[in-house]
């Protein structure tokens, strides 16, 4: 015997635990250490999709139709496969535009229109109130059943019970308190409720555990596994027939329509939009939710069929199949399990109710009531100093109103329907948002007129095909509509519109309503045009990944406002503290001072509008901002121009960045070259001046003293000749280098003998060697392979190295060496000296043009600085490599290689 007090204690204890979790998460959020910033918690919060309908209703549906309950969970699996593509886009758009509800999303896309926002809100509220009421029904039903433990008695018909004795009424009140406490604590510009999300995620875990526990107990405790259970079920004819689906075309089409229905519901139900989009902390959490959420759905559905069949087999008629999850453990006298299931059912119901009412209250307040209040004549609400308390009061009022409406529906009408059919009716209502949203984020040309016509048409068909029959069912109509059609017109029978038969009522309604919706949405969009604001919003939505987040849209707005006006506007909604905070954030980010008399720039006005949109919705924010600023409306052509410009500017700026980087490095290189060239010019002119000066001064002496002795005369003219040769050599080098650089050098490539070339170069440099008394060591093999090359240039290369060696070898007892080494594929020429050596940092650069090694022992080196550069170019033109090795104080070695002409011929 479970005593009522114990059941209530556990139920209230559980709700208390939820309060604690929500409170803790809210506190963590206030401290900036978000508890819910976690991909797993995000996926669990999405499982608010699984309501009491899933928990109790799926089993009921499965008992009657086998797999018929399943499309509701297959659809979300498929939707989440498209999650990174579509849901991520919706999330990004909502973050950029501070969108806080599905009504806000649609309103914002179609030109921040109040009309369309209200329309979406009304559809959502009307469609979802029955859905909320089914949660109330489930909770009170489960309480009434478990309260009779161990007897299994179905609860009585509800309208008899006075409200004051009705459990469901107290359940309703408790849920309202919870939703108000954690859903409307303060007015936030992001409309996020970390406490609620944490509680909902926890509830998702509890309901899964409870359902799995019941399923395992029934499958493996009462029966010996799946095979045993299904084999026994096969003996009952009514169960055997649901082992397969009906095989008519309508059954498969109905199946597909149910899958489509749930695909839309899983993101477009207000609470799903709330948890998946508005409460999303990080877009990357989607990546895990893409599989974790479908896995959750798979797990919670695994035992639905076994429980349903087991219930049918265990109970005679008289036990509602919607209660099997609870009544089966009760029949087996499992107290703890029964309580766990009861708590699981409460979890499934409360999570949904709280999230849904908070989402609906935001919509009612922002998209239905506020726009009206703000438009009221002077001296009323719009002029009030502090609007935020009014907004909060409206939200709380809306929560209570929604819950009371749901209670009334449940108490007086809802009893006649099973859990699932009520839920599916709600799904069909929110499915009407799908064309406007999906079209809105992928199709720029969709217009507000199109969206409004589509929504209206879809909603009307939905009401006609699903709500009207349910009113007849509840006895509210005095005419048999379903069987005869209105006024006896059979063509308009609500369940068989235009004579379409073979579909179940839901699939039938989904088909006609979505068809009408899409038809008018596309058709009217094609034949209507957009306002400038619509066009702007359409482009910002569709191309959200192309436009940068916040800063892009100021260009769409031109107008003037005073900062003071904006400030007072914000203070009325957000309060002085948060306004000051937000404005100083803005001033800091944009490095502007916001003095009282300053004029707000467009960026600030947009920023303020977005802050307001977060709190009161985009349509209302637009109305408020418009009251404070003088706006110069942009024409459509201008907007289109700006959009195209923006896109092009973004593309250009990316290319520009690349080009800038290239230019920068080129510029650095040029600067360096410029510096080197200047040095070169000073070196060359110095080198040219020395011989020129010598020539000139000696010529002057000769000119002034015609009677000089013959031997002196001869000596002096000898100097003139030598110095002019030096001049010629220098000029030739410069010319050579210029030819090499510009590719104008005429190369005479032919097979040559490198050994001969070395000897020839040696002969040329011999006078210099003798002159400076340098000791020469030679290592030239007699037989060498031929190489292909330009004889004169190769001689020049070896000569350059040899004369350098002579120039830099030890001035007292100089030694140089020339060596020709034979390798299989190339020949290597080495020239060494015993000079001061080269600094390691110079080894790399000495082959560059105009460079000379510094810190040579004898100070400034002589020569143009082109010798090695020319040598390197000659070697490289022959396909060889040149390098230098040196050790300070022990001389240096210059070497180059030339590939042999026929490497394999002789080896």
């Amino acid at each position: 015997m479970l005593r009522t007090e114990l059941i209530l204690l556990i139920a209230f204890g559980y709700v208390g635990l939820l309060f604690a979790i929500a409170y803790f998460a809210d506190r963590r959020a206030a401290q900036g250490r978000s508890l819910i910033s976690n991909a797993t918690i995000y996926a669990l919060s999405l499982a608010v999709y699984c309501t009491a309908w899933t928990f109790y209703g799926s089993v009921g549906r499965a008992a009657g139709s086998g797999l018929g309950f399943l499309p509701t969970y297959l659809g979300p699996t498929l939707t989440f496969a498209l999650g990174l593509w579509m849901i991520r886009k919706i999330i990004r758009i909502s973050k950029v535009h501070r969108i806080t509800s599905i009504a806000d999303f649609i309103a914002s896309r179609y030109g921040k229109s109040t009309a369309i926002g209200s329309m979406v809100t009304i559809i959502a509220v009307l469609g979802i109130i029955p859905y909320i009421s089914l949660q109330l029904k489930a909770v009170s039903m489960s309480y009434l059943i478990i309260n009779q433990y161990p007897l299994i008695v179905m609860p009585r018909y509800f309208p008899d019970i006075p409200v004051i004795h009705d459990t469901a009424f107290y359940v309703t009140l408790l849920m309202a308190v919870f939703a108000i406490l954690f859903g409307t604590r303060h007015l936030d510009a992001t409309e996020r409720h970390e406490g609620l999300v944490a509680a909902v995620a926890f509830e998702s875990l509890v309901k899964l555990v409870a359902f799995l526990a019941a399923g395992m107990f029934i499958t493996f405790g009462i029966y010996r596994g799946f095979g045993d259970l299904f084999t026994k079920a096969q003996d009952l004819p009514e169960l055997r027939q649901v082992f397969t689906l009906g095989a008519r075309a309508g059954d498969y089409l109905g199946w597909a329509l149910h899958v489509i229905l749930s695909m839309t519901a899983v993101i477009f139900l207000p609470r799903q939009f709330q948890v998946a989009v508005v409460e999303n902390v990080n877009e990357d959490h989607l990546k895990q939710a893409v599989w974790l959420f479908p896995l959750y759905l798979l797990a919670i559905n695994l035992f639905v069929l076994p429980i349903a069949f087991s219930g049918v087999m265990q109970f005679a008629s008289g036990v509602d199949a919607d209660t099997f999850v609870l009544t089966l453990p009760m029949a087996e006298k499992q107290e703890v399990l029964s309580l766990l299931v009861f708590i699981g059912g409460i979890s499934a119901a409360t999570g949904m109710v709280i999230m849904e009412t908070v989402a609906l209250s935001t919509m009612i307040c922002n998209d239905l009531v506020m726009p009206v209040l703000l438009r009221l004549p002077f001296g009323t609400i719009a002029q009030r100093k502090d609007l935020s308390t009014i907004v909060l009061a409206l939200r709380r009022g809306a929560i209570i109103l929604v819950l009371l409406m749901a209670y009334v529906y449940f108490h007086f009408i809802g009893e006649a329907y099973s859990l699932v059919s009520i839920g599916l009716t709600s799904f069909a209502a929110v499915a009407q948002f799908a064309p406007a949203i999906v079209g809105g984020i992928f199709w720029k040309r969709a217009t507000r007129a199109g969206a409004m016509s589509g929504l209206s048409a879809g909603f009307l068909v939905w009401a006609y095909a699903l709500v009207l029959p349910s009113m007849e069912h509840a006895g509210l109509l005095n005419q048999p509509m379903v069987s005869d059609g209105p006024l006896g017109l059979a063509l308009f029978k609500p369940y068989e519109l235009f004579g379409l038969t073979g579909l179940d009522p839901i699939a039938h309604a989904v088909f006609w309503s979505l068809l009408a919706n899409s038809f008018f949405y596309v058709g009217v969009s094609l034949f209507s045009s957009q306002s400038a604001l619509e066009h702007t919003q359409a482009a910002l939505f569709v191309d959200v990944f192309t436009y940068p987040g916040e800063g892009a849209d100021p260009s769409f707005w031109r107008g003037t406002a005073l900062v003071t006006h904006l400030r007072s506007l914000l203070e009325r909604i957000l309060g002085p503290e948060r306004t000051a905070e937000a404005l100083s954030t803005y001033a800091g980010r944009h490095e502007v001072r916001l003095g009282p008399l300053a004029t707000a720039d467009p960026a600030l006005v947009i920023y303020a509008e977005k802050l307001l949109a977060g709190a009161i919705g985009s349509a209302s924010a637009r109305v408020m901002i418009a009251s404070a600023v003088k706006e110069e409306p942009l024409g459509l052509d201008e907007v289109m121009g700006i959009l195209d410009e923006t896109r092009q500017v973004i593309a250009y700026s990316r290319e520009l960045e690349k080009a800038t980087a290239e230019l920068k490095s080129a510029n650095e290189r040029l600067k360096e070259l410029d510096r080197i060239k200047n040095e070169f010019i000073s070196t060359v002119t110095h080198e040219l001046r020395t011989p020129l000066t010598a020539v000139r001064s000696i010529s002057e002496i000769l000119h002034a003293n015609p009677q000089l002795p013959k031997d002196q005369h001869r000596h002096m003219t000898g100097i003139i000749i030598k110095e002019s040769e030096r001049l010629t050599r220098l000029i030739n080098q410069v010319l050579d280098f210029q030819r090499l650089e510009t590719g104008k050098m005429a190369w005479q490539m032919q097979p040559v003998n490198l050994q001969e070339i070395c000897r020839e170069a040696l002969t040329a440099v011999q006078p210099l060697i003798d002159d400076k008394h340098v000791e020469l060591s030679l290592d030239l093999p007699q037989e060498v392979l031929l190489v292909r090359g330009d004889r004169d240039r190769l001689v020049q290369a070896v000569l350059n190295l040899l004369s350098n060696a002579v120039k830099f070898c030890d001035s007292v007892c100089g030694r140089i060496g020339l060596r020709l080494a034979v390798h299989p594929n190339h020949l290597q020429v080495e020239v060494n000296d015993n000079g001061a050596g080269i600094q390691p940092e110079d080894l790399k650069i000495i082959f560059e043009e105009f460079r000379q090694a510094r810190n040579m022992s004898q100070g400034r080196p002589s020569g143009s600085g082109l010798g090695l550069a020319i040598t390197r170019r000659i070697v490289e033109h022959h396909g060889g490599r040149i390098w230098a090795e040196s050790e300070a104080g022990r001389g240096s070695t210059f070497a180059f290689t030339i590939p042999v002409l026929y490497p394999s011929a002789e080896s």
Binding site: T77, L78, A81, L84, F230, Y252, Q288, L295, D543
Partner: protein, 74 residues
């Protein structure tokens, strides 16, 4: 068409969507809509849950973080 980041992953997931739609709808579904059973479990049920598990498994493998991080895609 402007694609979101991770577009390679996104395309693979879209492929899984198509596979899921085909596996879980007419006419493939009708091939298993027979009064037969597999180890006691009705064939249709076994098939639908197996196909569903396959889709969830594929989603998990493809969306696993880090796997396509190094893929560059234009």
């Amino acid at each position: 068409m402007p694609m979101s980041p991770d577009s390679r992953k996104t395309r693979r997931l879209a492929g899984i969507f198509l596979l899921g739609w085909v596996l879980l709808n007419y006419p493939i579904l009708s091939l298993f809509n027979l009064p037969a059973s597999w180890d006691g479990v009705p064939l249709l049920y076994a098939y639908v849950f197996a196909a569903w598990s396959l889709i969830v498994g594929l989603l998990a493998v493809v969306s696993r973080p880090g796997r396509t991080n190094h893929d560059t895609d234009g």
